[in-house]
């Protein structure tokens, strides 16, 4: 029996896990994928929003401003890449200046500092590649960029170090409330076929809390946190009569080579135009250029495929913000799904009819920004239900994997002296070494897949997109994990690279 089980190891789930790990309680995270950060948290804009978008008074507004204020300190505490580069919202029509002003007013109401309008001339100085057709812009100096994998993995690792169990490859199939004996109603129970199931039924009536059936067996817990992203409605609706409905809203992106990473230095948003909701043009915290996302409501909760129309749209709409989008420098494209709940705001807390079941649902933008605040907020809700003392030995600080690419000469020397593998470059585009890849494997919650290595070290994230390093990384994974190369996957499931040996005959 756990005190808390968190469904979903995305950024919200991991942030909550990390906050709960400060207290003396038993916490487990169940994740269906083979790694943390495999859903919405891995495919988004990587923006720390200043907080002028959300309607004042909403959870989005409150948590955004808190998250935005916490992010810098957290990035130092947990050692993940973050940069406060400032945001701009472009207005293309003189007649739309009023909308910029509205944003500014909203931002001030939300408590966003430093907001101001800037005119074309200043804008062009700030961003020389900005479109000729811009009339004015809102400048938000507190906007920032963050590595979404870095943030999520850092939270997860730190939670793990502080005692949270992570059960990967563990898909939750059902959630049911366990009732006290005296509360059990007289409804006829489902047919029981074996003694074991009869026993289970008895247990079910004698305990409070929740029973989760998963692909890896049954878990029982006093409290549940439902941080299941686009599936949060499914789990919520298993325990509550007040139904939630989450629509996956697809966003497609194009990522560009680092040679054009300084094409803009701020995160450049657009006021919605007649062409629809705008896309953003931004540097990433790693120095690439990113343009996206589109916004398309789809039915498929697994529909993370890019489309020809979507990618065209990204480049076209990006071209509204900047002159001459460097089309030829695209290195990859991807799509992510935002978990959009019909009620527009985040759904956080217990439904009235499901005590001890905490929804963290509808966490769409600015969810990444909010994650640290969501973590604290939900931990607080849980502690009110289930008071627990603070752990004495909580380790707040985490040191990330050293980056040879970012290290200066002296630091490189130091690393190499410690482990010569830091001098053996595996990914030449991003200058990632064997030492870093070995670290990624052997850390708490270490990588077991090629994508896991990629998101922890950036090996394969460069311009050749793992053309040269994939076979070498697969070899290192196999060696370090004591497995055969053929067993190494891209991202769990059936995503293997190799189908057999040469010189073999199959029937």
């Amino acid at each position: 029996m756990y005190d808390v089980i968190i469904i979903g190891a995305g950024v919200s789930g991991c942030a909550i896990a990390r906050e709960l790990s400060r207290y003396d309680m038993s916490v487990a995270v169940l994740e269906r994928a083979s790694d943390v950060c495999e859903g919405t948290s891995k495919a988004n804009s990587g923006i720390v929003h200043a907080g002028y978008d959300a309607e004042p008074g909403t959870k989005k507004a409150l948590l955004n401003i808190q998250g935005s204020r916490q992010m810098e300190a957290l990035s130092k505490e947990l050692d993940f890449p973050y940069k406060r580069n400032g945001s701009l919202v472009l207005c293309f029509e003189e007649s739309d200046r009023g909308k910029l002003q509205e944003l500014l007013d909203k931002g001030r109401k939300n408590g966003v500092g430093g907001l101001r309008m800037i005119e074309k001339e200043e804008l062009r100085k700030l961003e020389p590649n900005i479109s000729e057709h811009v009339a004015a812009a809102l400048y938000a100096p507190t906007g920032g960029i963050v590595c979404p994998f870095g943030l999520t993995i850092a939270l997860a690792e730190n939670a793990c170090v502080n005692g949270v169990e992570f059960h990967l490859n563990t898909e939750v199939l059902s959630v049911e409330k366990m009732k006290k004996k005296d509360e059990t109603n007289a409804e006829p129970e489902a047919e029981t076929e074996s003694e074991k199931e009869i026993e289970t039924e008895i247990e079910l009536k004698t305990k409070t809390g929740y029973r989760l059936k998963t692909s890896k067996g049954v878990f029982e817990t006093r409290m549940v946190v439902n941080a299941a992203g686009v599936y949060a409605d499914v789990f919520h609706n298993m325990v509550s009569g007040r139904k939630l409905h989450i629509t996956p809203r697809k966003g497609e992106y194009c990522l560009f080579d680092k040679t054009v990473g300084d094409y803009v230095s701020h995160t450049v948003f657009q006021l919605p135009t007649k062409y629809g909701k705008g896309v953003l043009v931004t540097p990433t915290v790693h120095g690439n250029l990113l343009i996206g996302p589109t916004a398309e409501d789809i039915g498929d909760k697994e529909g993370v495929n890019t489309t020809a129309g979507g990618l065209d749209d990204v480049l076209k709409r990006g071209g509204l913000s900047v002159e001459k989008v460097p089309f030829g420098k695209v290195i990859t494209s991807f799509a992510g799904l935002r978990a959009h709940e019909d009620g527009e705001d985040f759904v956080i807390g217990e439904p009235e009819d499901a005590e001890g079941f905490f929804d963290v649902a509808g966490i769409e933008s600015p969810g990444l920004t909010c994650a640290p605040a969501i973590g604290e907020y939900v931990a607080e809700l849980i502690r009110k239900r289930m008071p627990a003392p603070k752990k004495k030995n909580f380790i707040a600080k985490r040191e990330g994997i050293p980056s040879v690419a970012l290290a200066d000469g002296a630091k490189r020397q130091e690393l190499i002296q410690k482990n010569p593998a830091y001098a053996n470059v595996i990914c030449r585009c991003e200058l990632v070494t064997e030492g870093e890849i070995m670290d990624a494997i052997h850390r708490p919650l270490g990588a077991t897949t090629l994508d896991g290595i990629k998101r922890r070290t950036r090996a394969g994230m460069g311009r050749c997109q793992a053309g040269f390093c994939a076979p070498k990384t697969v070899e290192i994974l196999a060696r370090e994990l004591g497995r055969d190369m053929g067993e190494i996957r891209k991202a769990g499931g059936e995503s293997g690279f190799l189908t057999g040996y040469t010189k073999t005959v199959e029937n």
């Binding site: 194009c254 990522l255 040679t259 697994e302 993370v304 495929n305 890019t306 489309t307 020809a308 979507g310 990618l311 695209v330 290195i331 990859t332 494209s333 991807f334 000469g409 490189r412 020397q413 190499i416 002296q417 010569p420 593998a421 001098a423 053996n424 470059v425 030449r428 585009c429 200058l431 311009r463 050749c464 997109q465 793992a466 053309g467 040269f468 994939a470 076979p471 070899e475 190369m485 053929g486 996957r489 891209k490 991202a491 769990g492 499931g493 059936e494 995503s495 293997g496 690279f497 190799l498 189908t499 057999g500 040996y501 040469t502 010189k503 073999t504 005959v505 199959e506």
Partner: protein, 467 residues
């Protein structure tokens, strides 16, 4: 290991090896050369090209890739030219660094008096090459000349911006080649190949021979990007269909590739509605072009050519950075390794000339002359037109020219019964009848120095395709 050398060669593939050997034959001592190779053995990507067909021009016999590489590696071993393996160059910078700042008199640092060199006025601008490996750690080598021979990489699925899911089972043809030929592993069973570059064609045959079913090669362009002989020997001989003017418009499969949707494209390379065809497969190989790897060159300030993505070079294969030469696929992508070797030998010889100060530019007289008058030497630009996409070199300096200069280039389309025309300014000087020219096959013309000397006012050479 010496931390000061005459010549540092970045890359131990066919280009780097041939360049180093040629520099030695031109008079640079073996011990003053250093080859830096990032992989575990010399030979570069040839080591995974186990098919034959290499060396027909150079050795007049048919060799496999590893055999061809070994011919040059053995010369390196025999001459005891030093080389480092598993070593990556992380930065190259020019000599106006710390040492000169330390010295009040710049010449006392940068003038190198070589014992065997009679020219006391020899000036080589020092290049600092920073590299790392497991045994030496991070280190910097000073070199009088550098030869860039880093090769190229394959265009990725991302760069092609093919829509769809991102499952396992999508490989560049070269990555698949490595799995099959080096690791002895099969990357898939049912294969579709996008792009008809030579590696893709070779892999179509290779995968077939290893028991995979290659269902289709789709090529965006109305012509193949590969050598004719490879189309015949790798596709036709195995009954593998090649669909020209076709591309992949969707990739299916969330974990592993399940299939791809292929469609015909119009003259603007846009998919034609109604021509879509779903082909089930577990593997997609991409052979859609090679890109010279010039990140190091760019960091050094080497000017790159917009068409080749390789350095802009003169007749000596020297870049705009003095004493830095380029050859092989880092300069422009070749079809035949024989031409890589030939080009690299030129680069090696020219680098040796530079080091030994036999080139006018790096003598004191030359330097001062340069300062006083920019055009101490005559620069003859090579311009392209009418279907010729680029030339290597793109500029000639008469006094540095050999008796005969090879100009290599590619055309932008398929031409039948056309003429390659060469103009000296506006005067037609050469017309070569060509039965067929295609983008997949590199072309060349040879210019005689003596002939150019007949035109003392010549400013521009133009090479075009005409009917």
């Amino acid at each position: 290991m010496k931390k000061k050398v005459d010549l540092l060669v970045v890359g131990g593939g066919p280009a780097g090896l041939a360049a180093a050997v040629a520099a030695r034959e031109a008079g640079i001592k073996s011990e003053d050369i250093l080859i830096v190779e990032r992989d575990g053995e010399l030979g570069g990507i040839l080591n995974q090209c186990i098919h034959n067909g290499f060396g027909l021009h150079t050795f007049k016999e048919e060799l496999t890739g590893p055999e061809y590489a070994a011919r040059y590696a053995e010369k390196v071993y025999a001459a005891e030219i030093p080389y480092l393996l598993h070593t990556i160059v992380v930065d190259i910078s020019e000599g106006e660094g710390t040492e000169e700042k330390d010295s009040a008199n710049m010449e006392s640092v940068s003038v190198i008096t070589d014992e065997k060199n009679e020219n006391d006025n020899c000036v080589n601008k020092i290049k600092y090459v920073t590299a790392m490996n497991k045994t030496e750690g991070l280190f910097t080598v000073e070199a009088k000349a550098v030869i860039l021979a880093m090769g190229c990489r394959e265009r990725s699925r991302g760069a092609l911006n093919i829509p769809g899911y991102r499952p396992a089972g999508i490989y560049s043809a070269g990555t698949a080649q490595r799995y099959v030929n080096i690791e002895g592993r099969m990357p898939g069973k049912e294969v579709v190949i996008l792009g008809s570059g030579d590696i893709g064609l070779i892999m179509a045959r290779r995968m077939t021979l290893e028991g995979a079913k290659v269902k289709l090669v789709a090529e965006l362009m109305p012509y193949s990007g590969g050598l004719k002989r490879n189309i015949v020997q790798c596709l036709d001989d195995f009954g593998i269909p090649l669909k020209l003017s076709h591309t992949i418009i969707d990739i299916d499969g969330k974990e592993r590739v399940k299939g791809v949707t292929v469609a015909q494209v119009d003259e603007n390379r846009k998919p034609v509605a109604g021509t879509e065809e779903y082909i089930s497969c577990d593997t997609l190989l991409l052979s859609c072009g090679l890109i010279p790897e010039n990140e190091l060159s760019a960091g050094l300030g080497v000017a790159l050519h917009p068409v080749t993505a390789g350095p802009v070079v003169n007749e000596s294969l020297e870049t705009n950075v003095e004493g830095v030469f380029a050859c092989g696929n880092v300069l422009h992508v070749h079809d035949l390794v024989d031409y890589v070797s030939e080009e690299a030998e030129n680069a090696g010889r020219n680098a040796a000339e530079y080091i030994m100060c036999r080139l006018p530019e790096n003598t004191q007289a030359g330097k001062q002359g340069k300062k006083q008058e920019e055009n101490v030497s005559r620069h003859i630009e090579i311009k392209t037109g009418g279907g010729v996409r680029y030339t290597v070199p793109s500029m000639l300096r008469l006094e540095y020219m050999q008796e005969e200069q090879v100009i290599r280039f590619r055309v932008g389309d398929v031409y039948r019964n056309a003429v390659l025309a060469v103009y000296f300014d506006d005067i037609p000087v050469m017309r070569i009848n060509k039965k067929v020219m295609a983008p997949g096959e590199m072309e060349q013309v040879k210019l005689k120095k003596a002939k150019i000397e007949d035109y003392p006012e010549l400013k521009e050479i133009r090479i075009t395709v005409e009917n």
